[in-house]
């Protein structure tokens, strides 16, 4: 978390501890004012107005509310929803839930670079389509979808457009008006704010969008999300948005330069590949496959780096990343992938260190790898009959 955010939050745990819904005493007024101010800050970063912001517990709740809330609200109009196979689990699982409720969901595949095929989207639209939900940028590979074009296709067929912009807001400019977004999910902790506080943007004009509440109760958040507001969290989320708006351009420039430096250095090693589209990509993400090295084994050598692996050796299914598989990567390349995430506080020294550690670890593990030895001997790994496992 950004220290500027923590500083803004602290008074709301100690002196200013009122309930924002308590309108009949000053403690409540102070809290309400703080929430109103934060709502403006949060709205501003996506080009919305404060009445279009519903505070939630995070992007998972926002995505649940967007998909299920739209499905319930608009079921007279239609029952069809379109989304992508590379969406975050909370979108995919909300979509599966909707299927159980009698909805129809199309899960579009992506192209080999991770981008949606707009023609396929167009072909999937029907007169029953009420919602297109496609993420702004992907969490594993950082690929940025053509949201403006997606919105245009959705609107042409009378459907709403929701985007999970968790990875994008605060990293790249997002504007709900210019992009034609009707609903947008995002969260505080992805932009150096606190965990446990997110928002759903719900458009109020052209058209006025409504969602059916998924949490019933005291009618907070204009009836769309009941529950006492997390005042310190919301204050922190607001501050984080304000800081991000100031720092975004500078951060993006600096981080993409560092990311490119890292990527260039490690891909000098043979049999090393960057996953996903590199032109339409978040500035701070690199997803790289180091062939013949298993990702989790590699991560063990990088334990002091901010990395994660597309391999899932710990899961019961042993299935590697579904995002990488949907790019058409073979399972073995998906098992060999590492996601590097840079942040506001990443320094050039850390990147130099990351390059050194990565190269050393990959070299060490390739010396240990029977697959690398076979590759070096010119043996086609596909020609080997691998044992059932």
């Amino acid at each position: 978390m950004d220290p500027r955010v923590l500083e803004a939050m602290l008074p709301y745990f100690t002196q200013k501890f009122g309930n924002a819904a308590s309108r009949n005493h000053p403690f409540g007024w102070v809290a309400e004012e703080a929430v109103d101010y934060a709502r403006e800050q949060v709205a501003k970063i996506i080009g919305a107005t404060e009445k279009e912001i519903i505070f939630t517990s995070g992007a998972t709740e926002s995505n649940n509310l967007a998909l299920k809330g739209v499905f319930e609200m608009y079921q007279q109009k239609g029952n069809h929803i379109i989304t992508l196979v590379t969406e975050h689990k909370c979108v995919l699982d909300s979509a599966h839930h909707i299927e159980k409720m009698g909805g129809k969901v199309t899960f579009l595949n992506v192209k080999a670079d991770g981008l949606v095929d707009l023609q396929e989207l167009e072909n999937a639209m029907t007169d029953k389509t009420i919602l297109v939900s496609i993420m702004y940028a992907n969490n594993e590979i950082g690929v940025i979808q053509p949201v403006k074009e997606i919105a245009a296709i959705a609107h042409k067929h009378g459907a709403l457009f929701h985007t999970d912009a968790t990875q994008a807001v605060g990293k790249i400019p997002v504007d709900v008006i210019a992009d034609g977004i009707d609903l947008l999910s995002f969260t505080g902790h992805k932009l150096y704010g606190p965990k446990g506080c997110g928002a759903l943007y719900v458009r109020r004009k052209n058209p006025r969008v409504k969602v059916t509440a998924q949490i019933d109760g005291g009618g907070h958040e204009r009836g769309m999300r009941s529950g006492t507001l997390n005042v310190p969290g919301i204050v922190g989320f607001g501050k984080a948005c304000e800081v991000a708006m100031q720092d975004m351009a500078e951060d993006a420039k600096r981080l993409s330069a560092l990311r490119d430096k890292l990527e260039k250095a490690v891909t000098e090693m043979e049999e090393t590949y960057v996953n996903g589209n590199t032109e339409h990509r978040l500035p701070h993400v690199a997803n790289i496959s180091f062939k013949y090295v298993e990702g989790e084994g590699l991560m063990m050598a990088m334990k002091d780096l901010a990395v994660s692996s597309g391999s899932a050796c710990t899961s019961a299914s042993l299935e590697p990343s579904y995002v990488l598989k949907s790019l058409g990567l073979n399972d073995d390349l998906a098992h060999s992938s590492i996601r590097f995430g840079l942040g506001r506080f990443t320094t050039e020294e850390e990147i130099d260190y990351a390059i050194e550690v990565t190269k050393k670890a990959v070299t060490h593990l390739r010396e240990l790898s029977p697959l690398w030895e076979m590759f070096k001997e010119g043996i086609d790994l596909d020609s080997i009959e691998w044992a059932e496992h």
Binding site: L368, P370, L371
Partner: protein, 137 residues
């Protein structure tokens, strides 16, 4: 996930990494696992005329626990007869390396690699292969 000190030690300083000449009759090779599952182990033993294992080498594509399991297996194999080696149980590896439940399959793979290498040696030298139990899978 946190790894035990022994796993970290084998991962950082793997024992007996390498390749034996698989064309030799005295060498048994076991290659188990599959790249798409994220684990491949190759374990080799060199056996003398008294059926004693004089050398063992491994190479593994996999997570730290898989590397440690196979590295440990090579240590345990050296100096054992091929019949004694068959008695190495995957749960011994689990215990020695303090593997968590999600990593037990790494030890199973190491046991499979040992048995597969012994069978390769046995068949090469005119002996019946041992029936491998697949009950772990």
């Amino acid at each position: 996930m946190s790894y035990s000190d022994k796993v970290i030690d084998h991962y950082s300083h793997p024992r007996n990494v390498g390749t034996l000449d698989k064309s030799k009759n005295s060498v048994g090779t076991g290659l188990v696992g599959a790249p798409e599952c994220g684990d491949v182990m190759r374990l080799q033993i060199e056996v003398d005329e008294n059926h004693m294992i004089t050398d063992a080498k491994f190479k593994t594509f996999g997570c730290g626990s898989a590397i440690a399991s196979s590295s440990l297996a090579t240590e345990w194999l050296k100096g054992k007869s091929i019949d004694e080696a068959l008695k190495i149980d995957n749960m011994d590896i689990v215990e020695e390396l303090s593997l968590p439940p999600v990593k037990i399959h790494c030890s199973v793979l190491a046991e499979d690699a040992i048995k597969s290498a012994i069978n390769d040696y046995r068949v090469k030298n005119g002996m019946e292969p041992i029936a491998l139990e697949k009950s772990h899978h």
